[in-house]
Amino acid sequence: MNWTSIDTWIVVTGVLCAMACALPGCFLVLRKMSMMGDAISHAVLPGLAIAFLVGGSRASLPMFLGAAVTGVLTAVFTQWIGRFANVDRGAAMGVVFTTLFAVGLVLIVQAADHVDLDPGCVLYGAIEFTPLDTVRIGTFEIPRAAAVNGTVLLLNAGIIVLLYKELKLSAFDPALAETLGFSSAFLHYLLMTMVAVTTVAAFESVGSIIVIAMLIVPAATAQLLTRRLLPMLLLGVLLAATSAVLGHLSALLLPPLVGFESTTTSGMMAFAAGVLFIIAWIFAPRDGLLMRRFGRLQARELEI
């Protein structure tokens, strides 16, 4: 294996992004909205197209704003359809994101007359190329993607630390939260904004696969390991970081073993997160398959 400083930066960027996603991901999983990341990944298309049509260029700030606004709108529309029309949340989400994506496609066809705007390459960056695009902070030169995802991570962590009690209550008992005077709606939209910004920032820098996976899988694994929120958040972040490291390592080591040249780091990071989940699924101290089987045997012995 030939480890270079590029690999170090890929891993650092991946770890920062994974941790930034895992934090809001825990709340998404608790609120039964795990599919939100995937929904947003499709739904941002019209935002990008409009930003492009209005701004006339592929500058990244208008694109980012367009995408973030559409991401939040996805959550808002999903919430409205779910609440006012009493539609199952998954279905509401599906209606919203497929429709937005279709609107985006039609808009892009209009824009494509002027200049090449491919939905595949506007937003979806690749983590392998992140070390090439750097920014200077103080005396250090670091990849822009690392800076962006680090900032998002700090923002997410800050919001969760500040509003920990409120977020916890509204995740587990929204009715009680409402009676105690915390606006569930405000917290919901805050969380959705967090998810939208995190997702879009990460898409743009490292690609969508990592984001969709890191929003759900580390949080789900953590939920298998603990039943308390704080340990769940900490475990989620730790598992996300571990998945990112293992993902890049296996992206380097695995292909030669099966006779291929190379593979994508982001895909392997998602896959590594899945492997960690499966390990927890089998060996979790309380809810793991083994403990359940073992516990059942014990119970049977006691009966006899």
Binding site: N86, V109, I216, A273
Partner: protein, 440 residues
């Protein structure tokens, strides 16, 4: 834009003259019907996003099938091999999802998200690896097809799968209905719940894989969700919903692809989704069973009726406190307001409504309210119904007198005349208006 199509072009598309148009329009219509049918069950099982999960979960299968096909058979890019790989991979995803739901306390959405993201991640990793094999270029776009470039083979496969869906739905209607509405009961009655769930998800997998190849990812996802969600607004009965869902799916496919054939530079998939979304929005607003507008009108009507009854009963109770049996006479607006703690605004609205229904005599003084002849009669009737109901609750439903007023307030508004007669008979009351069983 190429400008508006001519009448000749309209005719050509409507009558399906050109071969390519005919193929695309018929195929999308059929796929819409099939997806609408199975989508209805997914919606009721709260698994609408299954199409989304499956379409991402096919990726590793496509990659592996291509690699195996290339190294063993020599031609990895054969549609049959790739579709088989996609199906197996999709079914594996379904199996993992069901296993997670059954053996952990994670919920459906987490299991779905897990399968989607991990399979998709593994799929991209595998696809990148097999890029080094010969003839691998464009593998992804080869499987994630475009609606306009459909061929006759696609049409046949779609027709077969849609027919299969229809047959399965007709023959397993009772079983699948039970699975959707009361899985625990179905299991306790000895139905093979897991098998039924498996059959349903296998149908969804078939629709997804076939649709994915022929019309693309987003359209398949939309076809499985939107028609069913739209149909739900019109009915509370499953058979009706199934038919509606299939029809809405079919109409969306037909209309969307026809329009796309007329306006050549708009993608068919997007137009079909937008057609379905328009039907969804209309259904959401005006659907007779659950639509937003009918529900709002119903709610307003009920509120008006309740307001009217509360006002008249309050007036009657005030008159009753003055003399027994009560005699119609002037009532202070103030005392009415205190009686039910209305705000001045609410009371004015109720009084205006009562005036419109001829329940009030016109009075020169605004601070005095006077019931009309018919208003007084109506007030006596409403109060009597309310008290009969209270008596019924206390004697026959064992509800404490202190709690009865609240329940009576809620239920009396739907008390039918038959029920009132039954109560009168049962309670053998001869009093015109029985006394209130509790302190007012």
């Amino acid at each position: 834009m190429s400008g508006l199509p001519s009448i000749h072009e309209f005719r050509e598309v409507l009558l399906l003259d050109s071969y390519n148009t005919r193929l695309v329009v018929l195929a999308t219509t059929l796929l819409g019907i099939g997806a609408g049918l199975v989508g209805a069950f997914l919606l009721l099982r709260k698994r609408s996003l299954m199409g989304d999960v499956l379409s991402h979960a096919t990726l590793p299968g496509i990659g592996i099938a291509f690699a195996l096909g290339t190294t063993m058979a020599g031609g990895g890019k054969s549609l049959g091999i790739l579709l088989t790989g996609a199906t197996i991979s999709g079914l594996a995803g379904v199996a993992v999802m069901l296993a997670i739901i059954r053996t952990t306390r994670l919920r459906d959405d987490v299991a779905m998200g897990f399968v989607l993201s991990v399979f998709f991640g593994a799929g991209t990793a595998i696809l990148r690896m097999v890029q080094s094999l010969p003839n691998a270029a464009g593998l992804e776009s080869f499987i994630y097809g475009k609606t306009a470039s459909m061929v006759a083979g696609d049409f046949t496969v779609i027709a077969v799968v849609s027919t299969l869906c229809a047959i399965a739905v007709i023959f397993l209607l009772k079983e699948l209905t039970l699975l959707c509405f009361d899985q625990a009961f179905a299991a306790s009655e000895g139905w093979p719940v897991l098998l039924l769930d498996g059959i349903l998800l296998a149908l969804v997998t078939a629709v997804t894989v076939v649709g994915l190849q022929a019309v693309g990812l987003i359209l398949v996802i939309a076809f499985l969700i939107i028609p069913a969600a739209a149909a739900r607004f019109w009915t509370e009965r499953l058979p009706v919903m199934l038919i509606l869902s299939g029809v809405i799916g079919g109409i969306s496919g037909w209309l969307g692809s026809s329009v796309s054939a007329l306006l050549a530079d708009l993608p068919a998939g997007a137009l079909i989704v937008l057609t379905a979304a328009s039907i969804f929005i209309v259904s959401m607003l005006f659907g007779t069973a659950r639509g937003v507008v009918p529900k709002f009108i119903d709610h307003r009507r009920l509120q008006r009726r309740m307001g009217r009854q509360h006002l008249l009963r309050a007036a009657y109770e005030i008159l009753e406190s003055k003399s027994r049996p009560p005699v119609n006479g002037p009532i202070l607006r103030e005392s009415l307001m205190e009686h039910r703690s209305w705000t001045p605004h609410q009371l004015s609205r109720l009084l205006a409504q009562a005036r419109g229904e001829d329940h009030l005599e016109p009075t020169p003084d605004r601070s005095i309210v006077h019931l009309s002849e018919s208003g007084f009669g109506e007030a006596a009737r409403i109060t009597r119904n309310h008290r009969l109901w209270e008596l019924y609750l206390i004697r026959h439903a064992d509800i404490a007198p202190s709690h009865v007023d609240r329940d009576a307030d809620m239920v009396e508004h739907i008390l039918g005349s038959e029920m009132v007669r039954a109560l009168e008979a049962e309670l053998a009351t001869r009093v015109q208006v029985p006394l209130s069983p509790h302190r007012i």
